[in-house]
């Protein structure tokens, strides 16, 4: 067993535990947004930051940091709370309209952020993507692009060929940003890999390719494919 101190309590945990798991099992509250018991740690939201006290104290993401013998952890020091408040402030910048963000702001006393950005339902926690890959095993969506343009999407931003509409992404989404919509349109055609059939898409990856009425149009587009050797 590994022995460590968390907020003046001595905890004993088996090897392989993360700080967050140790806290959860011992009813020590640490807020999280992107952590999930059934998914590998991701460390995106940074809400779970805790302080490792020592010669050089530092903040680490408790969801990913493994328990080590003799660690001294503080989950509510000034540094931790300041960091937490900053994270929430940044969340408020894009998503102040979301109940979960407002609840965090209320709990930690964060008011108006110093900046407002374009409103976004998605907080890029990655839960949907990780669930689709790790639990469902289909991997229909992924985090795409970088920086301000980072978004959850499908390959080439078109209707996903692999999505099985299981709704797991919508279930794990903490903000309700994902809706699975029925978009059955008989004329709808995907790109050259697939044949013509009615298709569903989630709103994130909805994409309308240019209307192609028949296989003849495709041939025209591809420059008369039929060849005689």
């Amino acid at each position: 067993m590994i022995r460590l101190t968390m907020d003046d309590r001595t905890l004993a945990v088996p090897p392989g535990y993360t700080l967050l798991q140790a806290a959860r099992e011992n009813d020590i509250p640490i807020p999280t947004l992107c952590a999930h018991e059934a998914l590998l740690p991701y460390g995106a939201c940074r809400l779970c930051l805790v302080e490792l006290v020592g010669a050089r104290s530092r903040l680490v993401a408790s969801c990913a940091y493994p328990c080590e013998e003799g660690l001294k952890v503080r989950t509510n020091s000034d540094a931790v709370i300041a960091a937490r408040r900053t994270v929430i402030e940044l969340l408020l910048a894009t998503s102040a309209h979301l109940p979960i963000v407002r609840a965090l702001a209320a709990e930690w006393g964060v008011r108006s952020p110093y900046v407002t950005l374009e409103t976004n339902d998605c907080v890029l926690c990655g839960l949907c993507v990780r669930a689709c890959h790790e639990i469902v095993g289909v991997g229909a969506i992924s985090l795409t692009r970088r920086g301000m343009a980072r978004a959850v999407g499908t390959p080439f931003q078109i209707s996903s060929a692999d999505c099985i509409e299981c709704g797991t992404c919508a279930l794990v989404c903490p903000t309700g940003a994902i809706r699975v919509e029925d978009v059955t349109r008989p004329a709808r055609r995907a790109h050259v890999w697939q044949s013509d059939y009615a298709r569903r898409a989630c709103r994130l990856c909805e994409y309308e390719p240019p209307a192609m009425a028949s296989a003849d149009d495709d041939r025209e587009l591809l420059g008369n494919v039929k060849r005689e050797a």
């Binding site: 798991q21 009813d27 999930h36 059934a38 299981c166 699975v180 697939q194 060849r227």
Partner: protein, 514 residues
Amino acid sequence: MDNDVRIGVFVCECGGKISGALDVAALVEYARARLGVAWAEQANYWCLPGGVARLRAIIGAERLERVVIAGCAPRTHRTLFLRALDGIVPPPFVSVTNVRDLCARPHRGDTLAMSKARDQIAMAVADLAARPPTPPRVARITPHAVVIGGGIAGATAARALADAGIAVTLIEREPELRAHAQERLAAHPRDHLRVLTSTTVEQVGGSVGQYRLALSSGETIEAGAIIVATGEAESPIPNPTSKLAEMLHLPVDANGFIADARVRLRPTDRIERGIYVCGAAHFPCDEARAIFQAYDVAARAARHIQRGKIVNDAPFATIDATRCNGCGDCARVCPFAAITFESRASSRLAVIDALLCTGCGNCVSVCPVKAASVSSATDEQIEAQIRAAVHGSARLPVYLLFACEWSGYSAAEIAGARGLTYPANTRILRVNCTGRLSPGLLLKALEMGAAGVLVLGCAPGLCHYEQGNEHAAAVFEQADALGHLMGLDERLALKWIPPDDGEQFVQQVTDFEK
């Protein structure tokens, strides 16, 4: 309940998310005392490593054979528990019931919440107790691939497979391969790659992993993977391409191209058939695309063959040979072409390929003589759940909701997860597909005393099992007609729901109760 079966009930507090709204200790006591299970216990988090270790220890110490984990969503946590209990409890006997999103969250503060929670656990226990054992099915994959069509795509795929060290036979109906195809195959040792010209495939038999192709030359070859690269079909249908597609159970679209059979199921619920299509047979394409596709399907076929064997432990359907009358309705509705026929006496017997079957239950509902049944949803299991729900711990009549995994049930979980509320005198019975239901089951629930029966399924055209929801509609109409004769039809309804629409779920339930 069969007292020989040792069932364990493990109720999760979920870090306060469940214990904050429900009396978990009382649920554990209910399971122990009233449901007669061999063991019942609670924990803060059964899914964290500590909880899992404790779970395994208890199962070992108490020799538990089947477990119900009353916690959160099966969609997120069942895989976790299956992995944790791998080799300890067989997958069919691990049940996760979502007390958090179907009870604790939507009915917080509701006086009827506890009775719903008790009944939900009772339903899971009843279902598990009635479930028959289903060992996994294993099939070998023949380490040989067949490529049908010696054009650019076919030759590329054959060459790629041979390069990967896999024995390939390329079948071409013309007397000679075209020049560019020959080039591709030229520099390759012939022992690995056999080219048969002036040959066609006459028949395809065998089963997944061990296909048997009867050729026009009289030879029969075995293959673990088949790649169709026959090029653009001559119209109109029927033509050689469409006939081949029919033999391989591949869908053909309106223009004669072999379409993708899009299977919208979890990878764990279905197995790969090992049949692939590439090139202009699939869609108009130029040379570059044909080559690209050929490499892709060759890679997939190679991966499939290199697995060596297929293991499927998903539920599957079986036919009672003493009842089957050979009518063929089951084969007509099977979305996975898993049903074939053996001749016997003066008629024939339906045979279900246990590897291809995904356990949707469509065959069960259309069979006129009740010969078909699904291991994960036998009539006994469903009736046991109905009984646990309707004759449960509530002092008032309850509304039974038959919710399809892909629509109604999903919406119910999301409604709870989003914190919506709806009446707590509802009991949710999860089915893989509403197509599994029969009029008898719907009416039995009413007969047992349900205040109402609401069937929630996928909208037309969107059933994950092709036409399951249409069968459900037909079943419902029958039940409705019979119910009308008994004056019960107002208490029966069928609604289509999208999988993520928690609000609509709440709306439908509330409206129905009025």
